[in-house]
């Protein structure tokens, strides 16, 4: 097990390098540069710009810039924003917790509601409530999340006035509920369907018949024997989903005006702040990798037939 974890952690290094390089190259390829963006509409002396770029190391070839970035990163320096002069680390530590909170809320919503709905339908497969779930999830899967976001905003904020359409700077927990529901709804549909299928399938299994023949109470048959087995594929999905939620948060934040990673990335993109974009994307990638490792380990706990060596 220890060796497996070590190997998985080592595998993260090339993934980390690859993803940073990719984002770095994309930023490099985009037209425009931070210095010109800084100047805005004003006409500036080209020699002055060239000078500034040289100072910032932006005149160097891609590989060299990337190398400098990595060297700084390993010294704990995420770089500095050119326009605002603020350290990128500050931007990240401000925006990240908000996004993580939003994603976590969405995750909890997905897990609790999705699994409950899936179990509810799966226990009575091919009945009315099962078909109802199928239709509902199909709807959630086919409607894009920004449409759902605007709909939610329209009804709950503008029509009913239950919430503010925009989330404040502090992004309090109660303000994040609606964005979290919108963000989690797609995953919710998948989790509900996966749980439903898994429960319905395991219900028919021989060991469930044995559990009944043992005279166990229904609560125990469902809660212990059925759930332990049915959750195995769901947990696997949830692991990869945590990363997807972080990524999806970027879009949802735009709709509800949440000052999280999404708006930080948007701003940075607009100003061509390469270091900021790379730093945030890299962090998301790392969270994703760690989450999937945790899930794989959890998988082995849930299913003793899986052995990692």
């Amino acid at each position: 097990m220890g060796r497996y974890v070590a190997r998985r952690l080592l595998q993260m290094i090339p993934v980390f390098l690859g993803s940073t390089l990719l984002v770095f190259a994309m930023m490099y390829a985009l037209p425009g540069d931070p210095v010109r963006a800084l100047a805005g509409e004003q006409a500036v002396d080209p020699t002055q710009i060239a000078e500034m770029k040289k100072e910032l190391g932006l005149d160097l070839p891609l590989w060299h810039q990337y190398w400098n970035y990595l060297v700084n990163l390993f010294q704990g320096d995420f770089g500095t924003q050119i326009a605002s002069g603020r350290p990128v680390a500050d931007i990240i530590s401000e925006a990240f917790p908000i996004t993580v909170r939003l994603a976590l809320f969405a995750f909890i919503f997905t897990v609790v509601v999705g699994i409950s709905m899936g179990v509810f339908a799966g226990l009575k497969a091919d009945t009315l409530r099962d078909r109802g779930l199928l239709v509902l999830t199909l709807l959630l899967i086919s409607v894009p999340s920004f449409v759902l976001g605007f709909l939610g905003q329209y009804f709950f904020a503008f029509q009913l006035g239950w919430v503010d359409p925009n989330v404040s700077m502090e992004a309090n927990a109660d303000e994040l509920i609606l964005p979290a529901v919108v963000l989690g709804s797609l995953s919710l549909a998948y989790v509900a369907r996966l749980t439903r299928t898994s429960v319905a399938e395991n219900l028919r299994s021989d060991y469930m018949r044995t559990a009944v023949a043992k005279g166990l109470p229904r609560r125990r048959i469902i809660g212990v024997h059925l759930m332990r087995n049915s959750m195995i594929p769901v947990v696997t999905f949830l692991g990869t989903d945590l990363g997807a939620l972080l990524g999806g948060a970027v879009v949802t934040e735009g709709i509800f005006n949440v000052k999280g990673v999404g708006s930080a990335v948007f701003d940075a993109l607009r100003h061509r702040e390469g270091a900021t974009v790379v730093g945030i994307v890299t962090l998301i990638v790392i969270v994703y990798l760690v989450a999937s490792l945790v899930v794989d380990l959890l998988y082995a706990v849930l299913d003793p037939r899986i052995r990692y060596a």
């Binding site: 021989d206 044995t210 023949a213 005279g215 332990r228 003793p304 037939r305």
Partner: protein, 352 residues
């Protein structure tokens, strides 16, 4: 061979003191499955009984309704699509079909236990065998985790699983097929039930292991003075273990008899066919007899005797009248205890 087993107490004889009747009696049981293609009549009026300490072997080709009858007794039929339109299942004189779900649950595992054919799929793959055994004690007797574990180890010892103490936390997939079936047996035995139903307990095992598991089951049944319903399609297994035999065909009992008599003198053409299709050492090299034709489609059971399309003795009456299970007698009319046959021509079959 002597095995000194300190954990086993001398069992008190059961079933003898309270009611004098049989432990379990199935009366005119019918089970149907309502499927998309129609109604499959899996069980069409089964009657059999078992007393304490007695072994009833239920025999028949696959699809004849042996398992469905057992599931109806255990109360583990899939309902729907399953449906019991008619019949009684008396346990110690009480009809279980009229009991509440909770009453039936109290019987399952504690009074009547079941051993399934495929132990690998019938044990929960993600729970340790110790947990699955201990569950019986924790749920039904309220024992603590620790006490339950100690009991599980004792049980595993009792069914002679080597190194029980070390293996109690292992999972089903870590055991061999024979050992897994022993765990199934241990689980059924846990609360010392009055009756065990073993549904083809050795079919999934290697031939060499089959005999060991069968012997173990027979030994435990004697030691605990339990009733045993042994479902099998293998006539060879039955001779040493069973007291009496019920042969099933298309959801009916077509012949009943004490075990040794049936081998000597079958009273139903179907039983006769089954016996002739057992490979025998003294007929080595000869072509093995097989009953011709296929088991009937349960959606359209043939009219009259269900066996008539395959029977060499069939006459016109066989296609129109369902033969009832009638007592079988000697040629001079003396009663043969426990014998019955559902054939219009049982006399010709047994005496002819």
């Amino acid at each position: 061979m002597t095995i000194i087993d300190k954990t086993a107490d001398v069992p008190a004889p059961r079933g003898s003191n309270d009611e004098s009747g049989p432990l379990l009696e199935v009366r005119d049981l019918h089970v149907e499955f309502h499927t998309r293609d129609g109604v499959a009549k899996a069980v069409n009026g089964v009657n059999y009984s078992v007393s304490a300490g007695e072994t009833l072997a239920v025999l028949g080709e696959s699809g004849s309704g042996k398992s469905v009858t057992a599931q109806a007794i255990m109360g583990i039929l899939d309902m729907p699509p399953g449906h019991i339109p008619k019949g009684e299942i008396l346990f110690r004189g009480q009809d279980m079909l009229k009991m509440s779900n909770e009453e039936r649950r109290q019987i399952r595992g504690q009074k009547i236990a079941m051993i399934f054919q495929d132990a690998l799929s019938s044990l929960n793959p993600v729970l340790s065998v110790g947990y699955q055994l201990g569950e019986m004690f924790r749920v039904h007797q309220g024992l603590s985790k620790k006490e339950a574990k100690a009991k599980s180890i004792a049980l595993m010892d009792r069914v002679r699983i080597p190194a029980a103490k070390e293996r109690v936390n292992d999972y089903p997939h870590q055991f061999s097929g024979g050992m897994r079936q022993r765990i199934m047996i241990a689980m059924a035995l846990a609360l010392e039930p009055d009756l065990i139903i073993a549904d083809e307990p050795t079919t999934a095992l290697d031939v060499t292991v089959q005999a060991q598991v069968m012997d173990l089951l027979a030994e435990l049944q004697r030691d605990f003075n339990m009733g045993l319903i042994l479902i099998t399609h293998d006539l060879g297994v039955v001779a040493d273990v069973a007291d009496k035999i019920a042969v099933m065909y298309a959801g009916r009992i077509v012949e009943t008899a004490p075990v040794h008599e049936i081998y000597k003198r079958p009273a139903h053409p179907y039983t006769k066919g089954l016996l002739e299709s057992i490979p025998r050492l003294d007929q080595k090299g000869q072509e093995l007899y097989a009953i011709k034709g296929l088991p009937p489609n349960l959606l359209h059971v043939p009219s009259g005797c269900a066996f008539n399309p395959r029977c060499t003795m069939a006459q016109d009456i066989c296609r129109t009248e369902i033969p009832a299970l009638r007592p079988v007698t000697e040629q001079d009319g003396t009663e043969l205890v426990g014998r019955g046959s559902a054939c219009h021509f049982w006399k010709e079959t047994i005496h002819g």
